[in-house]
């Protein structure tokens, strides 16, 4: 009887967390479509949409990686329900970002798109990150996870690599000089700083102390 109540409670908490994460995950899309429809994306809507979808994807990716440390730090086991959906939203917005580039901006002119990708290192880096996120999203189903076992855990550690690539892509996309930080580097640097902290927390020495 008690077990049933406990199960139900857990189920309802899980449901609440899901509502929360899907609300948060879809809100940027709704806002983005809203500003497009109201013609508020500015004078260069493609550029604005490209930057926004990219930034949203990067934020969701870093957030998904922050969930486990936050869960331990804040002693909030419920947060575990957020990790996978946040990662999937990151993949979703990364795909939107690519579609904005390939479809909206380049009108699916594959010759032109290919020329862009190979000519620009930052696009190659972004494309690699997208590829990783796509593989991770495709293998995110519980059935696949069960089938893959330990290998799944190893595969999904690639999220960290994807995040590093995403930050590199972001830094290289900013107009300026990365070496001297002359340019608009605040956003990618803050996000990159968070990622560095998250990576450090995974180092064995530091991890044990937590």
């Amino acid at each position: 009887m008690n077990q049933q109540i406990e199960d139900r409670k857990q189920e309802s908490q899980r449901f609440q967390m899901r509502v929360l994460v899907h609300f948060g995950g879809l809100l940027p899309l709704v806002l983005l479509i809203g500003s497009y429809v109201r013609d508020e994306l500015g004078f260069n809507p493609v550029e604005a949409a490209l930057q926004k979808t990219g930034q949203i994807a990067a934020v969701f990716l870093v957030l998904s990686l922050a969930i486990t440390p936050l869960r331990k730090l804040l002693k909030l086991p419920l947060l575990r329900y957020l990790r996978k959906p946040l990662g999937l939203y990151a993949a979703f917005y990364a795909a939107l970002h690519f579609l904005t580039f390939a479809w909206w901006d380049y009108g699916l002119d594959f010759g032109l798109i290919w020329a862009e990708i190979v000519a620009k290192p930052f696009i190659i880096i972004g494309a690699l990150a997208l590829l990783i996120l796509a593989v991770l999203a495709a293998t995110s189903f519980r059935s696949v996870q069960r089938k893959m076992g330990k290998k799944w855990v190893q595969l999904h550690r690639l999220t960290y690599l994807a995040a590093i690539l995403v930050i590199a892509h972001f830094l290289l996309a900013v107009k300026g000089n990365l070496l001297t930080l002359q340019g608009n580097y605040t956003f990618p640097l803050v996000l990159g700083g968070v990622l560095v902290v998250l990576l450090l927390m995974r180092l064995p020495g530091i991890r044990k102390n937590n």
Binding site: G42, E116, F122
Partner: protein, 323 residues
């Protein structure tokens, strides 16, 4: 969310009718004509360039400009976009916030110091500039290195005319330009991110080309602050960052001058910065561009479509090296 600043406050007709300044300019020229000076003025005026449109009447504002195109038939870019989407890092790096940030920038009084290797160094006040040089309308394409472009009706006069006034000496090989640095109104100059003041430069023969314009207005009004008030350079065959804004100083020099973007990232921004679809940039496509207000990319033209007028300047030069 980026907001379309002018979207919420539609521009009224009377806001775009010419400023008193413009009228006085016209009146002055008319008087000159009546005094029989027309012929004298005409003799210093350049042969009409293929790109210069017939001067539109100052009355009527935008209405007289609708339907105007550049010499290739491209329609003018919307006034709101021209004045609402600008790169002017002295104010902010957000292109759509420059107009807002530059509101307190009142470019009066203003003077431009012209010196260096010249016989007649001289500091021109803005009113002297407007009185000395016949203002003409030029419709130019503007191609930003970031991969977008516009078509803008400028008011101004060939840089050559100003240089002829000060007479460069035979040692002068380059022209260096400097933007005002006014920390009180320019929030961005204190950011430490960029080595202000903004500097630009041209080779002397480029500066003497008839296309090189010192612009004092656009769309029949004096330059709005965000577009580089009260006087700026416009070199339409080069990427937009060469067209330095709010000029306070022009110097004739022997050596190729330092320019801001070339100093920050020389591998990305060359001194010449000619629009060239064959020389790629690590970040933006230079083969195609987004014309602001259009939905589809269009091909970028060699020298931004001005090759016939400027190609002689680069004869024998490898433009992949001198980009």
């Amino acid at each position: 969310m980026a907001k379309r600043k002018h979207g919420s406050v539609p521009l009224k007709k009377d806001e775009i009718t010419p400023k008193p300044l413009y009228d006085s300019r016209r009146k002055f020229l008319k008087q000159m004509g009546f005094l029989g000076m027309g012929a004298v003025l005409a003799s210093c005026a350049p042969a009409p360039a293929a790109t210069s449109a017939p001067p539109a009447e100052p009355t009527g504002g935008l209405a007289t400009l609708t339907g105007l195109t550049d010499e290739l038939g491209n329609p003018l870019t919307d006034y709101n976009a021209v004045t609402g989407y600008c790169n002017f890092y002295e104010f902010t790096t957000n292109k759509e916030k420059v107009d807002e940030q530059a509101e307190d920038f009142v470019p009066e009084p203003w003077s431009v110091e012209v010196g260096g290797l010249v016989n007649n160094p001289r500091t021109f006040t803005m009113s002297e500039i407007l009185e000395t040089f016949d203002q003409q309308e030029r419709i130019y394409r503007m191609r930003c290195v970031e991969g977008w472009s516009m078509v803008i009706p400028w008011l101004g006069f060939p840089l050559r005319q100003l240089l002829e006034e000060v007479e460069p000496t035979s040692e002068a090989k380059y022209v260096a330009f400097q933007t005002a640095m006014l920390p009180d109104v320019m929030n961005g100059v204190n950011s430490m991110m960029f080595p202000f003041p903004y500097l630009e430069g041209l080779r002397l023969d480029e500066a003497l080309n008839d296309l090189s314009l010192l612009a004092t207005g656009l769309y029949h009004e004096s330059l709005p602050p965000q577009n580089g008030a009260p006087i700026r350079l416009v070199v339409p065959w080069k990427y937009g960052f060469k067209s330095i804004k709010s000029i306070v100083k022009i110097s004739l020099v022997t050596d190729q001058p330092y320019t801001m973007w070339n100093t920050i990232a020389p591998q990305e921004y060359g001194f010449y910065a000619n629009v060239n679809p064959d020389v790629d940039h690590p970040r933006w496509s230079q083969g195609t561009e987004i014309r602001i207000g259009e939905n589809q990319r269009r091909d970028t033209l060699y020298m931004n479509g001005y090759a016939d007028e400027v190609e002689y300047l680069y004869e024998g030069m490898d433009l992949a090296v001198y980009y």
